[in-house]
């Protein structure tokens, strides 16, 4: 077990692409940290540099306080689980798991004991003599995990280990990974582009984009206080709604109507360089059927009436879709998000997604009166995507780039 520190780590490939730009990251001993971001943002590159499979172009990588830039992967004492599992097809499950121990010239009896222990934890005991070709996807995945845990390394690195499994198995394995990590309490760096995995697994989440860290924080902080449009749109499913908004006197003109500017929003907009053209962000769960709102809550929100496009009843609650007329929110960040269909499931720009209580009586095609929680509104500067409603006190616990 050890802590891992990335100090201005940069990766420049020979062809000139800079995949990772001066990344600073301190991973505490025993922490479970998630690297998340759209395809091509440099997650795997970062992980491979920690592993030693890619050279570090500049900056320093320290494991347990010791500089390891020049060390071979085998001397770093780190185990890795690959997206492809990378099981040795010519060896049985048992031999696969024993391989790192045999390379370490460990005593035969001890190897057997360790492999048996790991197999028991991962429920692989009955498959020890099989070849990987005769295992199911989930079992292969567990063998890959087993090979990583047998030798109790300083840290685990996992590159999208669950992305080859089907949805149901993925959920199962997710809990298993989480439990295993807690049990072993080994520093873990986990790469995914699935924001659900990011939210549920990690102690802290690093959102990356184009080789830069966008935001680093615990999942709830990222969800509640995204630093910019990109993080706001990337984290959360369904994703945050974005609307164009204009400041006029003490009002915020939006396609939903003119919103009053409360103290909170007013103070964010008080700065000299505060833009007048904004993007308003609000999550689906911060809407409610106006009839179900209690009187004391009513004044904290804003009500509007709109025809319902579609109602999806999930049982526990209802997703209600509306079409927003007028100008769409546009910003470079939003286009990036839309381009990466794999990461965020961003709804079409003119649609508004709301999550209402199951008791709501709204129906397709009929006008509905909807309440929106003004306390939960985020305002973004469309020029650089910055969240201007994010106050310093709220950034506590959020490390900036």
């Amino acid at each position: 077990m050890a802590d891992i520190v990335l100090d201005k780590v940069t990766k420049k490939y020979p062809d000139g692409t800079t995949a990772v730009h001066e990344v600073d990251l301190e991973i505490a001993d025993g922490e479970f940290i998630i690297l998340v971001g759209p395809s091509g943002c440099g997650k795997s590159t970062t992980l491979n540099m920690i592993a030693g499979l890619e050279d570090i172009s500049s900056g320093e990588l320290r494991i347990a306080g010791e500089r390891v830039n020049e060390k071979q992967p085998k001397d770093r004492d780190i185990a890795m689980v690959f997206q492809s599992y990378a099981l040795y097809p010519n060896m049985t499950v048992g031999e696969n798991m024993a391989f790192p121990l045999r390379l370490a010239k460990m005593d035969k009896a001890l190897i057997k004991q360790k492999v048996d222990d790991a197999a028991r934890v991962l429920e692989l005991t009955e498959y020890l003599d099989r070849k990987p070709a005769n295992l199911s996807g989930g079992q292969r995945q567990r063998v890959a995990m087993g090979r990583a845990i047998v030798r109790s390394p300083k840290a685990f690195l996992m590159d999208e280990p669950l992305s080859n499994l089907d949805a149901k198995l993925r959920v199962q394995m997710r809990t298993q990974v989480s439990r295993l990590q807690k049990q072993l309490n080994t520093t873990t760096v986990y790469v995914t582009h699935d924001q659900t995995e990011a939210m549920t697994l990690g102690d802290r989440v690093v959102v990356m984009r184009g080789g830069y860290i966008q935001q680093l924080g615990d999942p709830q902080t990222l969800y509640d206080n995204p630093k910019n449009l990109f993080v706001a749109g990337f984290i959360g499913s369904p994703s945050m709604n974005f609307l164009s908004a204009t400041v006029e006197e003490s009002l915020l003109r939006t396609p939903l109507g003119d919103l009053p500017l409360g103290d909170r929003l007013r103070s964010s907009l008080s700065g000299a360089d505060a833009p007048r053209q904004l993007i308003l962000g609000i999550r689906p769960e911060h809407f409610e059927d106006a009839r179900l709102i209690e009187e004391h809550q009513r004044e904290r929100g804003f009500e509007f009436t709109m025809p319902v496009d579609l109602v999806e009843s999930m049982g526990s609650d209802k997703y209600v879709y509306f079409t927003v007329e007028g100008e769409h929110a546009t910003a470079a960040d939003l286009e990036d998000l839309a381009a990466d269909a794999g990461g965020a499931d961003l709804p079409p720009q003119d649609s508004l997604v709301t999550r209402l209580s199951a008791e709501s009586r709204v129906r397709d095609g009929v006008d509905a009166r909807v309440w929106m929680n003004l306390d939960k509104i985020h305002l973004f500067d469309p020029r650089d995507g910055r969240n201007i409603t994010l106050h310093e006190d709220k950034t506590a616990g959020v490390t900036t780039v």
């Binding site: 592993a51 185990a79 599992y85 070709a133």
Partner: protein
């Protein structure tokens, strides 16, 4: 395939049989000739009416044939060994590394493979006369390696490309050095490819006639295909067909042995199960 119907099985069975018969008839015909006596040689019977081993006795009595057999085996084995070792290294580098001149290397080796060998015979003849390589084992081994290498590089790099490189990375993460990763993970997986290539190269060297007839002049280095063409039978007036047939049968035996020996190692689909699900 478990659900193949009976009619489909019959169809494939018949088709397979036709192909096998088509390929085997000439071989069996030669084998049949080799057991016939000179008198019945041309009777047109597929199964010899009178069986004889005289032809076989005859060829092993002549020093020419035995000597040629030794030359053939030695030259083919040495060429195969060298070509496969060099080819493995080159193919590994081609499929694994990005180095300047890689495309050039691939292009040049393709060029060599396409080059008409006939056009090289006279220059090679002159070169070997001047360097003293003419009518020696190295005099044949060298050109064989030249022409077998492109073949080896091509087949082997196709095999190497099939091996997921994640395996090598995984081995390194598991604590292996570059050498250990190659020896314990990559090599066992590449083995079928190496053996397949070895067979192909061996057959190429074994069957060559052009270089063997042009670059040899005595029994010192004459290989079997050439020796066969010099066969005359027991006396000058005797028809050597029977003896040639017997020799032809004998020289296919090493190839069959070679294939059978390595076939066990060519387990298709060995890499399945390495990745994904």
């Amino acid at each position: 395939m478990a659900a193949a119907t009976t009619s489909a099985k019959v169809k494939w069975g018949v088709l397979d049989a036709v192909v096998v018969v088509f390929a085997l008839i000439p071989v069996l015909w030669i084998a049949s000739l080799s057991f016939k006596t000179p008198a019945t040689l041309t009777d047109g019977n597929f199964i010899p009416r009178e069986w004889t081993f005289d032809n076989y006795k005859l060829i092993f009595q002549t020093d020419q044939f035995v000597r040629a057999l030794i030359n053939s085996i030695g030259i083919a084995l040495i060429s195969t060994l060298i070509a496969v070792v060099l080819g493995t290294m080159a193919a590994y580098a081609i499929s694994r590394l990005d180095f300047p001149g890689k495309q050039l290397l691939v292009g040049v080796s393709l060029l060599i493979a396409m080059f008409p060998q006939v056009s090289l015979v006279s220059p090679l003849f002159n070169i070997e006369r001047n360097t003293g390589l003419f009518d020696t084992w190295p005099g044949l081994i060298l050109p064989y390696i030249t022409f077998a290498l492109p073949l080896a590089i091509y087949t082997l790099s196709a095999f190497f490309k099939q091996i997921p490189w994640d395996l090598e990375k995984a081995a390194k993460m598991d604590g292996a050095t570059q050498g250990e990763a190659f020896r314990r993970v990559i090599a066992p997986l590449a083995a079928p490819g190496v053996f397949t290539t070895a067979i192909l190269v061996f057959i190429f060297c074994w069957n060559d006639f052009l270089f063997a007839i042009s670059l040899t002049s005595t029994e010192r280095s004459r290989t079997v295909p050439v020796a066969l063409s010099f066969f005359t039978g027991a006396s000058q007036f005797e028809d050597p067909t029977g003896a040639i047939s017997a020799a032809a049968v004998v020289i296919t035996i090493p190839i069959i042995l070679f294939v059978l020996f390595f076939q066990k190692r060519i387990v298709a689909g060995l890499t399945s199960g390495a990745v994904k699900g």
